[in-house]
Each structure stands twice: as structure tokens, then as C-alpha cells.
């Protein structure tokens, strides 16, 4: 039988893929039965609490834990001294070493019999701080007289003579931008700022660690990648990776923020020292002060355009602060900002900068939304100045197959033009607007990636399937995997049950990130199903006494095929499964792969907004997302990704903001003041799924999770700017900022 990798997406008629079944974890999640990070308890469990620095920047002279240790009910106290592993940024972020680098930086932790005792113990820990000057703004941090966080983290790409807070420089592009600007009829240069925003998952970080005196440990944790947690924590604890088994709980949102560790190594160390299981749960304040928001940015951008709408050149210099350690996503901003456009002359420069803020963590298409925001704002302004249709200009310049991307490669098969054409044809684009209302358009681009993936599929004796994968399911991926397995095997959706296996059950699995799961785990699931099919065909061949090459798989049955196969009635999966013991033993398929060769994804968003000129308040009236999904496996969850990304972007554009006081402390570490969008802020979010198949996936799937947050910052900003009659250049566009812009324009 032949099951090759030929491109099969075009023209294939799907039976399960493309339908909208109820997710396998659905009942648990509507009845309260689903167990998330904080829902786990173990016998004899202690609770762990963390002491955090109240200072934005301080040398830690000493920590005296003796009084805390003496408090009845305290079973263990941990500081950085307990971690003897080689220091790295992730460990230093989990537990401060020589310096506390931001308000909220962990400096010690206790395990005690109750939260009450633990909190008392924290007060008894004496930390001797030498408070140092701090800096939280990206532009300030780049100045030569700025307080310096690290003496030795700047790399070789940074020119001599800059502040040591500047960590890395990136540059992309091609052509000669000066020559391009010389060809332009109209040039707009602007400077923009965007505030740091948090992923804002509703579930705070939580875990339960249990380590025995034999050095073996179990960890239950809400994370986007339990294999990552294992691989990162084991060396920190000086353990063999195989001795740490990590089980992923249900995860209450991540958006990139749960792709690293915070509490986990501390919980393991507390458990090791106390000999008891230890549960740790962050408060919302902890989450906002000490886990990763994304970068705040300061960006200069310049774009030239001809009267006919041709973009002649694009240039941007982008400064992203990523908190107290290297690694802001500036390179992705610099790569993605101009990616939707086929430009002859383009150049972007990115600077990675450290400040006294929490270490940034990945946030949905890391770095790209800010890049799209500035580029799409200036394109919008150019269209306005030249009196050109905003969609037509984007269509005219859009990247298509073969276009050289601003970050280097030539694009393969992509769907940007299809999203723009769908937007142009949509009734939203021609709907009338009222006074103080404006419409904004923006395109956006993001990469996908694949990575290490292991899937195992067992054929049960009754013909049902147990599918094990190793990627935490945030948005319905168990449903998608179930669907792809059922599609491939030719059996009903209900005959497959998919679970997220723990780290001892499968090979390595990369984190649930990079929009990779439906693409990479889907690919491995399809291959695992095909592996099982090959085995089932071989069993049928044995029973029939024919050559296994003469057996094909169709609609859930093995069938003889070819001239010499003989005439046998088709044998169903259930029949083959029932005879498995007699024909060679249990049947299972598996697939392990580093899924390389992922495609890219584009979207166009359209937003109508109304501005109250008296208060500066913005109301989103209508919003439509057009995005290329390659192939939508479960369309309802694809729509959900589009809608969720759009609304996170709306929050970023309008309200969300890390606000620091002069003392370097975060002033709004709670959902009252860090305001994410609520139901009454929003209209329905309309979606149009475009399907331009990805040649790198058997069904044509593209990852859809991240691209949806790239366009909304600019789509909203362009709508608000049109409604207010003045260009807004700073996010969030909170009422005071909008009002100030209106007043300044009037004056």
C-alpha cells in the first residue's frame, strides 16, 4: 500500500475535517470538573509562598531566614543559595541572585502548613537591600547616563559607546531606501510609542511539586509545555531529566506567557527541602508584577509612496525593552513589520534593551503587533494624504508568491491578497459611517513553526482509538487532533479519544506556541494514524493470505486491491482490532518528528470606531477579521482564535498598559486598573476564513493562533484617528490620550 507525502490538500474531500463537533474536554469544562493548575491537591501537602522585592533595582547584601525557619508550621525556606546549578537568566528570574532587578522579583520562598503561616513567615525574612537607581522607560534606558542593569550582557552586534542596557542590534531589509525615498511623491515620518501589555490569562500560574528522598519527583503544573518545564527544571535542581515526571493540568490561558517557568523550580526545591508535596499558586498581583508582559516600544518609521499608491521605500528603527534580561522580541518586530508588502527598498533596525521591569515572555506573535502598528498607521496616513483607497493601496503593494519578504526569503504560496480581496468585497467595507466614526484597515503577518513532536495512537480491541499527544490544549486542539485521526482512519469522531500524556509517556514535545500545534501535532497525528493503517493493512493481508502491498485502506476498512489481490469483503478497523491478538498482538501507530518547513500566515482586519469628542472614550462599533487558515480543521475554533486575538489587540490598542511610578513600582497590578476588554466594550467579532492551503502540511493547515493579534493595534488606531480627525501615535489610546490629541489638534 502506498501512503506517500504527495501534496494532497487540493481537491481532497474531507469527512470530519471542516465540521464542528463538540470538544472532548467540553463536558468537564462546563461542569467544573476540569482540573486546572490550582485544582490539584496531594496528601500531606504544604503551601508555598514567595517573598518579592519591593524595589525596582537593588543589591541584595544578605538574606536572614532564621526567624522564618523557626516559626512553627514552617517546613522549608528557599533562597537563591539553595540553587547550586550554573546561573542563567531563567533561574535568576525565578529567584534573584546578587540583585533584585524589578519590583516583584522573587528573593525567597517558604513552605508551610497553611497560607496564614507562610505569609507570617515571609514577614520574618530579613532582606538587606542596597537600593540602586532604576530605569523603566526604553528611551531612558538607552541613554549613556542611565542606571546599568548588567555589566556584561551586551553582544557583539552593538556598536561601542552605547549604554550597556543595549543588548543586541538587528538589521533587515534589502535595496537602497534613500533611492526609494527619492522616488516618492509623498513621505511620512512619525514616531510611535506602545505600552507593555500582559497576556492576561485568567488562570494565575500554579503547580504542585512532590519530590521524594530518592530524588524522583512529580510535578503538576499549568503550562504551555510540560516537556519544557521538565527540561528546564531538572538541571536547576541537579536532577536527571528522566527522574522528573511532569503532568500538564488543564491550562487557563497562556498566549505565550506560560512558555517559561516561574514557580516550578522553587516548588520543587521547597518539596525537596521539606520532604512534602508543595503547592504554589500566584496571586493576580504576582502575575502582573513578576511574570512576563510583552515589550514596551519606541519606534520611528518613514515610508514613501507614489501618487498611484506604490510604496517606494520603508524604513523603521525600533527600540523594545524586554524587562530585566535580554530577549525582547524586537527582531521579530523588525522582520514582520513590512512583511505584508512587496518592497524594492526596505530597511528595519531593531534594538533589544533591558530595563527594571519583569522579564518579558512571549506574547502571541511576539514583537509583531507593534511593528504592524507603526507601518500600517503610516500607510494609512499616506493614503489619506494622497486621497487613495486604503484597501486598493494595500492590494497594489501586497506580497504574493515569489515576492521577497522584508526579512529575506521569497514567499511561497500565501493568502494575503485573498484576505484583502475578501475585505474589499465584504459589506463591512462599504457600510456607511456616522459622525465621529471612523474605519480602520490593517494587514498583519506572522510566522509558524513546527518543532519536536511525538504522538502515539493505540487501536483498542473494540475498534476505538486512544490518541496520546504531548502538547497542552489551550483552545480546542484535542478536538482537532481527534478529527484528523478520525479523518485519516475513516472512522467517526466519537471513536477517538485524545489525551495530553505526561512527560514519561512520549518523546520530546516542543511547547504549545508558535501556532505550531494544529500544524505540527496534526502532522504527527496524521502520520501516526498512517503508521497504524500500514499495520492494519498488513494484518488483513495475513488473514487473507495475500501480499500486504495488495491491500489498501478506504473509509475505515482494509480492502484488497490490484490485479492479484483476490476478492475478499472489506475488513473494518473494528474487525481487525478484534483479531489483533490472533494476528500478531496489539496494534499501535506512532510518529516522532521535528516538524520543519512551516508556512506563514497573513490577515487583514477592519474596524469601525466611534470617538466621544467630549471624553475621548472610544467605542468599537464593528470588527471583521479576514485570515488565511490554510485549511480550517475545526472552523469554530479557528473563528475563536481570530476573535480572541482581535480582542486582545483591541485591549492593547485602547486600555491595557503597565504603569510605573517614579519609584519604579508597578502601579496597576490588578484587573481593576489593568483593564482588559469586557463583554460590554465590544460588538460581535465577524470572521471570514480564507483557505489557501499550506503545501507543507498534508491537509494544508496553517497555524492560526497568533496572526490575529498582529493587525488590530493599527486597525483600531486607524479607525480612531479617522474618527478623531487626528493621528494617534501612542498606545494605549486611553480616553485622556485621545482627548489630549483632539485638544492639541484643535489648538
Amino acid at each position: 500500500m502506498a501512503l506517500d507525502d504527495k501534496h494532497e490538500a487540493d481537491g481532497r474531500v474531507f469527512k470530519v475535517v471542516g465540521t464542528r463537533p463538540v470538544r472532548p474536554d467540553g463536558i468537564d469544562k462546563v461542569t467544573g470538573r476540569a482540573r486546572f493548575g490550582a485544582d490539584m491537591s496531594m496528601p500531606g501537602m504544604l503551601v508555598g509562598w514567595v517573598l518579592r522585592s519591593p524595589h525596582a533595582h537593588a543589591q541584595i547584601r544578605s538574606i536572614d531566614t532564621s526567624k522564618a525557619e523557626a516559626l512553627p508550621g514552617v517546613k522549608a525556606v528557599v533562597t537563591r543559595k539553595d540553587f547550586t546549578a550554573e546561573s542563567d537568566d531563567v533561574l535568576d528570574n525565578c529567584m534573584a541572585g546578587a540583585k533584585a532587578l524589578y519590583d516583584g522579583h522573587a528573593v525567597a520562598a517558604v513552605a508551610a502548613v497553611s497560607a496564614k503561616v507562610a505569609k507570617q513567615a515571609l514577614k520574618l525574612i530579613a532582606v538587606d537591600y542596597e537600593v540602586l537607581p532604576h530605569v523603566t522607560d526604553v528611551d531612558e534606558a538607552m541613554k549613556l547616563d542611565a542606571p546599568v542593569l548588567h555589566k556584561d550582557k551586551t553582544d557583539e552586534t552593538v556598536p561601542a559607546g552605547m549604554s550597556k542596557n543595549v543588548i543586541q542590534r538587528f538589521e533587515y531589509g534589502h535595496g537602497d531606501v534613500e533611492a526609494g525615498f527619492a522616488e516618492a511623491d509623498e513621505i511620512v515620518s512619525r514616531s510611535f510609542k506602545t505600552a507593555a501589555t500582559h497576556q492576561g490569562y485568567i488562570e494565575p500560574h500554579a503547580c504542585v511539586a512532590s519530590m521524594g528522598p530518592d530524588g524522583q519527583a512529580d510535578l503538576w503544573v499549568c503550562t504551555q509545555g510540560h516537556y519544557m518545564v521538565r527540561n528546564v527544571c531538572a538541571p536547576m535542581l541537579g536532577m536527571d531529566i528522566g527522574k522528573l515526571r511532569v503532568t500538564a493540568s488543564e491550562i487557563g490561558g497562556g498566549f505565550g506567557g506560560k512558555t517559561t517557568v516561574f514557580l516550578e523550580p522553587v516548588a520543587l526545591m521547597l518539596s525537596r527541602k521539606s520532604g512534602r508535596p508543595v503547592k504554589m499558586v500566584m496571586t493576580r498581583e504576582d502575575v502582573l508584577r513578576a511574570t512576563g508582559p510583552t515589550a514596551s516600544t519606541s519606534i520611528d518609521v518613514k515610508i514613501g509612496m507614489k501618487k498611484d499608491g506604490t510604496i517606494t521605500a520603508g524604513w523603521a528603527e525600533m527600540r523594545y525593552q524586554g524587562g530585566a534580561y535580554p530577549g525582547s522580541p524586537v527582531q521579530f518586530g523588525a522582520m514582520a513589520a513590512f512583511a505584508p508588502y512587496n518592497l524594492k527598498h526596505v530597511k528595519t533596525i531593531g534594538w533589544d534593551v533591558v530595563t527594571n521591569r519583569p522579564k518579558q515572555a512571549a506574547y502571541r506573535a511576539p514583537g509583531a503587533p507593534m511593528g504592524a502598528y507603526v507601518v500600517e498607521s503610516v500607510i494609512d496616513e499616506l493614503c489619506g494624504n494622497l486621497g487613495l483607497d486604503r484597501l486598493s493601496v494595500r492590494l497594489k503593494n501586497a506580497s504574493t508568491e515569489g515576492a521577497k519578504a522584508s526579512y529575506g526569503p521569497r514567499f511561497g504560496k500565501i493568502g494575503l491578497t485573498a484576505t484583502l480581496e475578501a475585505a474589499k468585497a465584504h459589506p463591512h467595507y462599504s457600510a456607511p459611517l456616522g459622525p465621529s466614526q471612523g474605519r480602520g484597515i490593517s494587514c498583519g503577518f506572522w510566522f509558524n513553526f513546527g518543532g519536536d513532536t511525538s504522538v502515539s495512537l493505540s487501536v483498542n480491541n473494540d475498534g476505538t482509538i486512544s490518541l496520546s499527544e504531548g502538547n497542552p490544549d489551550i483552545g480546542g486542539s484535542r478536538a482537532s487532533m481527534t478529527m484528523m485521526a478520525a479523518e485519516e482512519l475513516g472512522i467517526p469522531y466519537d471513536s477517538v479519544r485524545t489525551i495530553i500524556a505526561d512527560t514519561s509517556a512520549l518523546g520530546q514535545n516542543e511547547v504549545t506556541d508558535g501556532s505550531r500545534v494544529t500544524f505540527a501535532v496534526g502532522l504527527a497525528t496524521i502520520k501516526a494514524a498512517r503508521d497504524a493503517i500500514t499495520k492494519m493493512c498488513s494484518r488483513a493481508a495475513k488473514v487473507w493470505g495475500i501480499d500486504e502491498d495488495a491491500v489498501i485502506w478506504e473509509d475505515g476498512h482494509a480492502k484488497p486491491a490490484g490485479p492479484n489481490a483476490g476478492k475478499f469483503p472489506p475488513m473494518s478497523l473494528a474487525e481487525i482490532a478484534a483479531q489483533a491478538s490472533n494476528t500478531g498482538g496489539p496494534i499501535a501507530g506512532h510518529h516522532e518528528v521535528n516538524a520543519e518547513g512551516a508556512g506563514v500566515s497573513f490577515a487583514t482586519h477592519m474596524c469601525d470606531a466611534e470617538v466621544d469628542p467630549e471624553t475621548g472614550a472610544v467605542k468599537i462599533l464593528r470588527y471583521t477579521v479576514f485570515q488565511d487558515a490554510g485549511k480550517a480543521v475545526h472552523p469554530a475554533y479557528v473563528e475563536g482564535q481570530f476573535q480572541g486575538g482581535a480582542v486582545q489587540g483591541i485591549g492593547w490598542a485602547l486600555n491595557e498598559e503597565y504603569i510605573y511610578g517614579k519609584d519604579g513600582r508597578l502601579q496597576n497590578p490588578g484587573f481593576l486598573d489593568y483593564r482588559v476588554p469586557v463583554a460590554s466594550d465590544l460588538p460581535m467579532i465577524d470572521t471570514v476564513i480564507i483557505e489557501v492551503p499550506n503545501p507543507g502540511h498534508p491537509y494544508g493547515v496553517r497555524g492560526v493562533g497568533e496572526t490575529s493579534i498582529v493587525p488590530p493595534l493599527a486597525a483600531v488606531a486607524n479607525a480612531v484617528s479617522a474618527a478623531a480627525g487626528v493621528r494617534l501615535t501612542e498606545l494605549p489610546m486611553s480616553p485622556p490620550r485621545v482627548l489630549k490629541a483632539i485638544d492639541t489638534a484643535r489648538a
Binding site: D155, G408, P409, N448
Partner: protein
């Protein structure tokens, strides 16, 4: 020989050249030869790179073949949320 496009800030290591040629049949050879010929690129390769081959992105797979006419672009390691 394979032509490899180098992003701007790494061109200090390639005497300003935006494209360099190395003799490589697969990803592993490509990265080894680049590091040998242009030691200034090695720190970035150690920090992590992705490689775009004919528009598709590869991270680790050493034995990914690279055809003669392939378009090869060095990129920083792609991550996601």
C-alpha cells in the same frame, strides 16, 4: 556552492556582504561552514538561528537537503507565543 543571505547586523562578520557562498549540501554543513568561514557569525549561530530554505523555515534538522538553486536565508531563531 549555496548562496546564503545574511541579515544586516551580521554583515560586520561578512565584510559587509549581504550574501555569501558556502559549500553545503545540508543544513548542518551550512551552519558549520558558515561558522568556519565567518567566525563573527558563530556567536549568533550559538544563540540560535533558523534557516529559510525556499521560503520554508527550518530550525534544527541537520540533514535537511539544500539544493543547488535553493534560496537560503539565515534568520534569528523564530519563537512564538
Amino acid at each position: 556552492m549555496v548562496k546564503v543571505a545574511i541579515w544586516g547586523s551580521l554583515r560586520v562578520a561578512t565584510e559587509g556582504r549581504a550574501e555569501v557562498e558556502v559549500d553545503a549540501k545540508n543544513l548542518r554543513e551550512l551552519l558549520d561552514r558558515l561558522a568556519d568561514a565567518y567566525p563573527g557569525i558563530k556567536p549568533q549561530i550559538d544563540r540560535g538561528v533558523s534557516v529559510s530554505i525556499d521560503g520554508l523555515i527550518y530550525n534544527d534538522s541537520w540533514f535537511t537537503p539544500i539544493g543547488r538553486g535553493s534560496e537560503v536565508v539565515l534568520l534569528p531563531r523564530i519563537v512564538g507565543g
